[in-house]
Structures are given as C-alpha cells and as structure tokens.
Symmetry: C2
Amino acid sequence: MASPKHERLREVLLAEVRRLQPHDMLPTERELAATHGVSRATIRQALDHLGDLGLVYRIQGAGTFVHGTSYSKTLLLTSFSEDVRDRGMEPSSRLLAIAEEPAGDELATELDITPGDPVTTIRRLRLADGQPMCLETVRIASAKVPELDEKDVTGSLYEILEGRYGVRLTRADQLVRAVALDNKDAAALEVAPGSPAFAIHRVALDERDRPIECSDSIYRADLYDMRFTIRR
Amino acid sequence: MASPKHERLREVLLAEVRRLQPHDMLPTERELAATHGVSRATIRQALDHLGDLGLVYRIQGAGTFVHGTSYSKTLLLTSFSEDVRDRGMEPSSRLLAIAEEPAGDELATELDITPGDPVTTIRRLRLADGQPMCLETVRIASAKVPELDEKDVTGSLYEILEGRYGVRLTRADQLVRAVALDNKDAAALEVAPGSPAFAIHRVALDERDRPIECSDSIYRADLYDMRFTIRR
DNA sequence: AAGTGGTCTAGACCACAGA
DNA sequence: CTGTGGTCTAGACCACTTT
C-alpha cells in the first residue's frame, strides 16, 4: 500500500468525477481540501493523479474539468493476458517451445548479462477467445527465474514474475513495426501469407532499471489494434 | 513562461543528470534543496518532471538514480514535421488536394460540430529527406481556421494553428492499425501494392478538450517505426 | 540506527480567466 | 475585481533501504 490517505482520496475523487458529465467543473481545490479535511497540497496531488489518468484537465484561473470520452488511457505496460481481458476477451496460451540456451552477444547486451549465460526462451501462441492473435517469444536470464517450467507458462508470465520471484516490471522500451507475415508465421496465426501484422520488440525493466525480459511478438492486424492517448 | 524558478531548476538538474552515468545516484533531495536554495518540495517537483521524462527513477529509502539508455521518450503528440526532424531527417510536403466540404454525420461527431458545417480537408504527401513516407488527410472545421489557404499548408499545420490561430493541441486520441497498402496508396507512396504500412486515425484536442483536427495517415512501414517507453 | 524518498500541513504569493 | 489553479516555503512525520 503506497499511502493510506492518498489512496482513499483518489477513490473519493474518482467517484466524484464519475458522477459528473464531460466538461463539468469539479469543486475548487480549496473547497475539496476543506470538504475532505486535508491540505490543498494533498488535494492537488490526488488531482494530478487523475490528470495523469486522463480523467480531468485543468485550466489556470478557471478550474478543473472532467475530460470528454476518449481512448482515455495512455499506453501502459501490460501483459498479453491483461491486455486481452481489457478488450473484453478471454486470453489463453499454447506453448510452442521452451528451452534454455546460452545468450548471444546481442541478447546479452539487451539483458545486461554475460554472453554465454543461460537464457530461458519461451515461445507461445497466444489466443483471444480461442482465436490465434499473437506469436510471442520471450527471453529471460535463467538466473532470474530458477525452476521455471512448462506448467508455469500457460498464463501471465508477469504474474508469475511478480508473485513467485518478486520481480515487478515497471517500464518497457518498445519498437513497433508494421510487417507482412511470412509463410511460417502466417500459418501459425492461421491467416494468409502476406497479411499485415504488428511486430513488437520489447525490453522490460524492473523498478531498478534492470532489464528482465526481452520479447518479440507478432500480432495479427485484423484482430489487434493499438488505441492510446498522447499528449503534448 | 510557465514558472521562472521551476524552469531554471529543471535546466540545472538536467545538466547535473547529464554529467552522471546511468544508475549513478543523484544528490539527495535535501542536499539539492540546500544547494539550490529552494525548499525540498520545489526540488521534488523538478525531479518529478525528470521522472516523467524518463530520465531518472527513484527508490524510496535509497535515492534518486539516472536511467539507463532507452528509447527514453514516452509517446508524445508531435506534428509530422517535428517527428521527422527528431529522426534526423528533413520533412517536406506535397499538397495533393485542399477542399471545403460539408461535414458528414460521423465527422461532425468527431469534430463536435453540426452535420453540414463546412470542413476544410487537406490531403498531402509527406516526405522525409525527399522520400515519400506518409499520406495524410487532415480535416478541420473551417470556422476554426478562417482564410487558411494553399500557401499555408506546405509545412507544419500545428505551427500555423498555434501561431496564427492561437490553437494549442495538447492531447490526441489515436487508433493505430497495421495494414497492407492498396494499389492507389502504394503508388502514391512509391512502394509495391500490398506492402505493410501503419494506418493512424487521430483526433487532436486543444487544452480545453475541444476536438480541433481529425486526421488519417498512412505511413510506409519500411521507413517508419514507432519507438516509445511505456510504464506500469 | 541512520539516511533516503513519500506524504502531509498551513500558510503565502503569483499568473491567469472571466464577469 | 474576484476566484481559480500554479508555485513555493519551512517545517513534520512515515515507510523504506541500507549498513
């Protein structure tokens, strides 16, 4: 739990926001502070958070207002499982391969380990409501996930990392490309060769900025798109 | 000018960060406050900003540290011109069409105007270092850009919106898809039909959350990719 | 135990919007 | 002019990491 007062406030303000219509003005910061019996700085912190979530916007001299509808969320680091559930579908997984191999130079650099160190590679077909959606190859330094085995990789790897190994991924660098599927990938994803797809290369880091996981994913473009809000 | 002290501090801290190596620890907040003759709250605000930019990370009880290299920036709202310059290339533009037409229902909804209201549509081929990179169709309610004409649309529309009309775009909702180019678009972009591309639908809003611009862009995937950092 | 960032207070003044 | 959000101060205590 990060902060008791802070968290409670967030919830309360969130409920308050949900009761309002887009472009409605929230009570002033001073009012909110008085109403909730906290200092204005605390209210501001909570409102900052709502702002980060894209729920409210502020105009100096005028007030704080509720955002109109939108894709709302800024791009967030999510696991495939979370992502699919957010889209209202049920994620599942088919393990294609799991192996341990020594790291090559490039991979070693990305994972910040020594070339030759053992790396566990997991290759999975990931499905949404039973439909093949994504081909995913994840690589993790074996030292970071001792005793990981086949039974563990049917669901969210992120949950296992956090639950069993205490590793929290907090940040990831992504390179997203649009590609045409080659014959092999197309067959695995059950679409025609040459179909459009997203190819995503991702390096995920923990809260101490240490690279943990390096993945390459290929998403069927007919089933997957990216929606997000960006800011100035 | 947002805030004099704040801005100066940012610069100073930024310089400080640049002198350090990844994972080096910054001076403590209390030290920084003393050194720069400001309160700790002010230092924290500046460090928060560096955190948002992805330059530093903090660990409670331990310190504030410099981030390792990465794609660094979170996805930002940029114009094509800025974007291309960031990639070290020179943007240019070829006007394909500019016209004024009444808004259809769907477009009217997106731009929050009345169906039938005049909308200016600008269709451009956008190039990077002289190579066709993107086909872009922008639509703006004509009322928001009176007297806009052909001469104005050779460069960054965002600059014109801000400079001439005082409209600042601060937020945009994007829908990104991977597609295969049809014959017409492929010809315009000078690649083979069926080549992979990004199709981006964007609605950009001003600081008061009013939709200003609605655009559809098609980017050649062989020349364009998306790099960004995401967080938990 | 000492030192760090995280939260919070109670006030002050500034910059800006709007009637 | 009044009221709003934006910045800032000088303190306090809490939660956590590290030694």
